[in-house]
């Protein structure tokens, strides 16, 4: 029988599937639902300093290429989640915190406050493509900013720090290297692509309340696989390959590109909250057929040696 459990930055995960940030994950209970659906670890919806109501609806659409969203980082603010995220043992799997800021000062405060919560790791989001003032729209996707923010957070964190990158930048590899140099424990690749827009031709208006949105799911997968492949060649720290993973085959592909774990977001829509369990069963079936004993054997297998 093949073995799916992994160790990621010292965390023991029963399997390599991780709930990506922003898909359910607004409360301890909703993280628990994903854990019951088979996730090996779960990521909370990103927290900012201020209370954010997010964009008007529709905030999420699906189309033949996958999904597009303009949620707008709705969250209650990091000051208001103490009772939600201080005791996380009931979730049953490691919980990864996620923070998103507008500048270095924000990240200092966020990292300090996150340290008071009980996350097993902390993900730093430098990469949302469609929220004004955040991520790539705040100019955070440069090697200098990546290094500075990573260092700030790392200095203030007791737990492993993951840096989440955007697929939209040229020189992604330089960002990954900058994060590694500044002490990041892992790279999450990738956030959504785009931004994109869908227009309703009857009302002649963009459909998303925020007009533009990040693209995830099917259309993102080959981009994400390429990003993971390139990053894997450039850094030694583990990669959480995220983007369009919805089947066990997709997950194996990510791991062969060099990922240690796989993030799943849009797949929750395609296959329901038990997508994690389904992906694991399919991975196991493939590994059994191919006589693969553990994921270590195939990690980065697509790279030439």
């Amino acid at each position: 029988m093949s073995e799916l459990s992994i160790t990621l930055c010292g965390m023991k995960l029963p399997n390599p599937t991780i709930l990506a940030s922003g898909i359910v994950g607004i409360s301890r209970a909703s993280l628990t639902l994903a854990a019951q659906g088979g996730a090996g670890a779960v990521t909370i919806k990103s927290l900012s300093i201020e209370v954010r109501k997010g964009h008007p609806a529709p905030i999420i659409l699906t189309y033949p290429g996958g999904m597009i969203n303009s949620v707008g980082y709705s969250n209650p603010g990091i000051d208001n989640v103490g009772d939600e995220f201080s005791d996380l043992t009931s979730v049953g799997v490691p919980v990864i915190g996620s923070i998103t800021g507008r500048n270095e000062d924000d990240y200092k405060i966020l990292a300090e406050k996150a340290a008071a919560l009980n996350f097993s790791a902390l993900e730093v989001v430098l990469s949302c493509p469609h929220t004004p003032g955040y991520g790539t729209m705040a100019g955070l996707s440069t090697p200098e900013k990546t290094e500075a923010v990573t260092r700030l957070v790392k200095d203030r964190s007791r737990v492993p720090v993951f840096v989440k990158l955007s697929p939209n930048v040229m020189g992604l590899v330089d960002l990954a290297k900058a994060a590694e140099a500044a002490g990041a424990d892992a790279i999450t690749a990738v956030n959504t692509a785009g931004p994109g827009m869908i227009i309703d031709i009857v009302s002649r208006k963009p459909i998303l309340g925020g007009k533009i949105g990040g693209i995830s799911g099917r259309a993102l997968r080959p981009i994400a696989v390429r990003c993971v492949y390139e990053i894997a060649q450039a850094v030694k720290i583990p990669i959480i390959g995220t983007g369009g993973v919805a089947t066990g085959q997709d997950a194996i592909e990510m791991i062969m590109a060099g990922a240690t774990a796989v993030g799943i977001g849009s797949g929750v829509y395609d296959r329901g909250i038990t997508v994690f369990r389904q992906v694991c069963q399919e991975m196991q079936a493939f590994m059994d057929t191919e006589n693969i004993k553990s994921l270590k054997e195939i990690r980065g297998a697509a790279h030439e040696v």
Partner: protein
């Protein structure tokens, strides 16, 4: 494959249901089941969840109560104006037994109307209790009479029907006759009373919950319930009464669009 994209259509009819409450008939086919809801998009403004209150071969209808910015704008719309429809979403009511009671409070009654029609077509003995604050806000009186549905009206001020709450009317029915199942949609305080009544009378109840919803199909997490994490838009909106009474937040609190908790 189904995609979550609005079908934008022109309103074919506006029905004045009650004071500040209008129904909008929309030419689209959803094949919705009783109790399901859709997201109604006011192009360029916002989209909100609304119960499906009418359904024919080629139309659906929704009933909107003007309470806030979005619903007030919708209630200003006229025939020929555009609305987008996404859905249908959520689970459905399943009729159980031969004698059923439907309990609707405020616009919650909208989500029970397809079920009432279904109960009649299955020739069940169905009673509908419709409650509102005052006569001017009572929904569907004409429609209920045309359908030939046994109905009890309650108003808080006694201006029409019985003075009191839907729960008072239900308590009396449960005392006087055998009821197989009860279906409920309305304000949460009312739902709590009704669920408790049914539990105490050992009658099955099914409660449709309302929570902040932003997507309607299980991705954003806005409608997640404590402590199960169940999403009202996917695992609900309808839950068995016994389950609802066990929910930590039922009758206690709900979350707004930033996921901040508010007590009822």
């Amino acid at each position: 494959m189904k995609f979550e994209l609005p079908i934008t259509v022109r309103i074919s009819q506006v029905i004045e249901e009650a004071n500040g409450i209008k129904s909008f008939l929309l030419p689209c086919q959803l094949k919705a089941k009783p109790g399901q809801f859709c997201m109604i998009w006011l192009p360029g403004i916002d989209a909100k969840p609304v119960g499906i209150s009418y359904q024919t071969k080629d139309h659906i209808g929704v009933t909107v109560c003007a309470v806030g910015p979005w619903s007030k704008k919708v209630c200003e719309l006229k025939e020929g104006d555009l609305l987008g429809v996404l859905g249908p979403y959520g689970n459905a009511f399943q009729l159980e037994g031969k004698t059923v009671v439907l309990v609707g409070g405020g616009y919650g009654t909208a989500s029970l109307m397809l079920l009432a029609e279904e109960a009649l077509s299955q020739k069940l003995t169905a009673t509908m209790i419709i409650g509102a604050k005052t006569e001017a806000q009572l929904l569907y009186r004409k429609r209920v009479a045309t359908l030939g549905l046994g109905a009890i009206y309650t108003t808080d001020d006694g201006s029409f029907g019985e003075r009191g709450t839907t729960a008072d009317a239900l308590a009396r029915i449960l005392k006087n006759q055998k009821v197989d199942s009860v279906y409920v949609c309305g304000p949460e305080r009312m739902e709590k009373k009704v669920a408790e009544l049914c539990r105490d009378s050992k009658v099955r109840s099914y409660i449709s919950l309302e929570r902040q919803m932003k997507c309607g199909f299980g991705v954003c997490g806005a409608c997640s319930l404590d402590d199960s994490g169940k999403r009202v838009c996917v695992e609900g909106t309808i839950f068995p009464g016994e389950e609802v009474l066990q929910m930590k937040e039922f009758g206690q609190y709900h979350r707004d669009s930033s996921a901040t908790k508010h007590h009822f």
